[in-house]
Symmetry: C2
Subunit: 442 residues, 2 copies
């Protein structure tokens, strides 16, 4: 009898229509609504143009939090709340990099997040360019002590190259260098300096670290190679202020059957202190906000709770991600999925998905093929949902083309004009469909 029941249950399960049938009508409604809607772009424009960039601790981040919560309420989301999060407060201050020899020239410079500053008169020293950590170690303290190390490492993909930005100062400092310059982590440059977080590791001296442009790095390299002593003065006003009070922004569509089960969609509301944070991660923020707004507007009440979470402090600490997990506390185990969007707002291709949800996401992907966003690949995640994933929550990431993302990332050029309104509509459609079906599926 028991084995017969199991067999019957298996037959019923097998016979259940695929998600791509069950949700065809709902998905089409969501897609049609998203493609006719300019709310995502309007939100992005307000966030970027009227509020601007928004580093942890800044007034503009406070404004963005207030604005986002108000927008969520206007869009009819429930239980909108802004639980407090304590965040680091790094301030850039004034910055100058002056080439002193073999000739005088001001160079483009952008301090790395988390760096200490220099004395007001700056640090003046000769520059030693290296192309890798291996070369740095070969040169050793004898060549590096008292010098400024330039990591002139050509871009070989973000993951492969960003370690020079993160660890360069500590590696150079441990050999006695007095400052570190890092070639901006980017494939292209129009005198574009890219900031981003650096991290002091170990007990070595904490030396100032700043990004130079590809133009600046290659100039120093050429001057050195042709036998010149290259001498520069680096001035950075960077400093830490006491920790600041920030907040995550949370709002939701309460589940109609299982409100305690949760699907999270989110991005990060903070940005670096340059440009507008339009792709990183304004696009993610407004996409998840508008996806929820459209689901709400169409009256599509999912079985489970669909929760929008705008994390604070992704760029230089990750305090928002940890704070959300602490806030959700015992309910984390009821999170059936968390979708992060933090790869910019170019055209969506599909989703990276944790193995546990791959079958369902693959079915849902079929419904996104009509907008070219149906590519479902294994492995999803992101910095803000990583703490949830470590507790077993299946993670997804909306994957966009990313053709130019790292050209703009962490620069003055990450601005609204780089975002195509149509691409934002497509992202909103993809996010709405994936989130709604995951929250509603039996």
């Amino acid at each position: 009898m028991r084995s017969l029941l199991i067999v019957l249950a298996a037959i019923v399960a097998t016979a259940a229509p695929p998600l791509s049938d069950t949700y065809k009508a709902a998905a089409d409604r969501l897609i049609d609504a998203a493609l006719a809607d300019d709310g995502t772009y309007r939100k992005l424009t307000y966030l970027c143009d009227r509020i601007g960039n928004r580093l942890s601790g800044s007034k503009s981040l406070d404004q963005a939090i207030e604005w986002a919560a108000a927008e969520m309420k206007k869009d009819g989301l429930a239980d909108v709340t802004t639980p407090a999060v304590t965040v680091p407060h790094w301030v850039r201050g004034e910055e100058h990099l002056t080439l002193l020899a073999p000739r005088e020239m001001e160079m483009v410079v952008l301090g790395l997040g988390g760096s200490v500053g220099t004395p007001p008169e700056g640090i003046t020293a000769d520059v030693v360019p290296v192309a890798s950590f291996a070369e740095l170690d070969r040169l050793g303290a004898a060549s590096v002590k008292g010098k400024i190390v330039l990591f002139n490492v050509p871009y070989a993909g973000y993951g492969a190259t960003v370690r020079y930005r993160v660890d360069g100062a500590s590696r150079a400092g441990s050999l006695g260098a007095v400052a570190a310059l890092v070639r901006s982590v980017t494939p292209v440059s129009l005198q574009s300096a890219h900031t981003g977080q650096m991290i002091y590791s170990g007990d070595g001296p904490r030396i100032p670290a700043a990004a130079v442009t590809i133009e600046g790095a290659t100039l120093i390299q050429r001057l050195s190679e042709s036998g010149n002593t290259v001498r520069v003065r680096l001035q950075m006003g960077a400093h830490m202020l006491p920790d600041a009070r920030s907040a995550n922004v949370i709002g939701e569509i309460r589940g109609r059957e299982k409100p305690e089960e949760v699907v999270v969609i989110g991005g990060h509301l903070d940005s670096w202190d340059v440009g507008q944070g339009a792709h990183d991660d304004g696009a993610g923020i407004v996409t998840v906000m508008q996806a929820a707004a459209i689901i709400q507007r169409l009256g599509l009440k999912p079985r489970r709770t669909l929760r929008v979470v705008l994390f604070t402090n992704e760029e230089n600490g990750g305090a928002g991600a940890l704070a959300y997990k602490a806030w959700a506390a015992g309910a984390v185990k009821n999170h059936i999925a968390a979708i992060e969007m933090d790869g910019g707002g170019e055209k969506p291709e599909g989703f990276g998905v944790a193995s546990k949800l791959l079958p369902q996401a693959t079915e849902i992907g079929r419904l996104l093929e009509r907008i070219g966003a149906g590519s479902i690949t294994p492995g999803g995640g992101g910095a803000d949902i990583a703490p949830l994933m470590r507790d077993g929550v299946p993670g997804l990431s909306l994957r966009t083309l990313g053709t130019h993302y790292f050209d703009w990332h962490h620069t003055q050029s990450d601005t609204v004009d780089k975002v195509n309104p149509r691409d934002l509509q497509l992202n909103t459609a993809a996010m709405a469909v994936m989130a709604y079906i995951l929250a509603d599926m039996p």
Copy 2:
């Protein structure tokens, strides 16, 4: 008898072997030598890295003149001379553009060459964006008086768009505007401000004019369109100093049979005061210098004189072009060709050629097909050889791909790293072959 002679002469002329046969060996020697030579790139690197940008009136232009004359002598050119040229001396001074409303923000700005400055406290006014001169005229003085006009005109090719940079201030000023901002004339931007010459025409008021980036122009446009009054403060320290003494740099390979007949190859040694003037026109300068150096090194003495002319003050006056013509004076009529290179140092495609020399150039083009530079098209010229052409000298221009030329043109990003050493070798080969054969052909 006379008609028989004419027929015989015609037969002899027809029977003369084509230039592409006669000069095959010489052309191959020149090409092989240029492709094995790093002198063009070495010269560019010195000019750009050690001397830097070089606006008329600057010390660096003086240094460049001295360096170029010394290099020509080292390369064995004859009669190296630097005849004096009086040039305008415009100085940029300090510049700031501050968005005041609807929120405060520093914007990227770069004054246009020739502009007047503002009072030290700047000019503070509301901004009226327009998309064309037609829109400006439709708005008229009623909407423009006392305002700052922003010409937010998307790039539609350099020739079509540059008129807003050149004439925008006068057109706006004549309607009572107090300053003009011009969207940078470029297809792409990473917060890239492009300078260039503006010209005050007519008797209208001379108002300050500055370039903003695509990012800045579109921000102002979006803010205006969403109903905000956009207010900015423009501060420019621009001013004219008394005319300065500059010079053209001239050197030559004396013709072995008809030294009084001259083929000129040239570019302009001055540049704007930002970046390194690597493509504009460092690449042209070093290409013509090295083409002559290689011809000289190979001992190829052409029948006619091959003259290298590095013109001063192309960017903001054209005094060098006029001065060369005055210097050549009665000998202009003996100039059988003038080849200008001022389109950047990307891969060469071929030459634009005045109709008079099209048959010969087409023959010579065949010899350049092996390096992909054999495309000969009607119509050559350039700003520096225009005065010669007006007196009947056939003009040619070396045509390069120009795929990215206007991305870099007149910006901080026109730097050596944008120049491919191999492309410089190809340009040098093309220039050497065309110049040598034109100077030597029967």
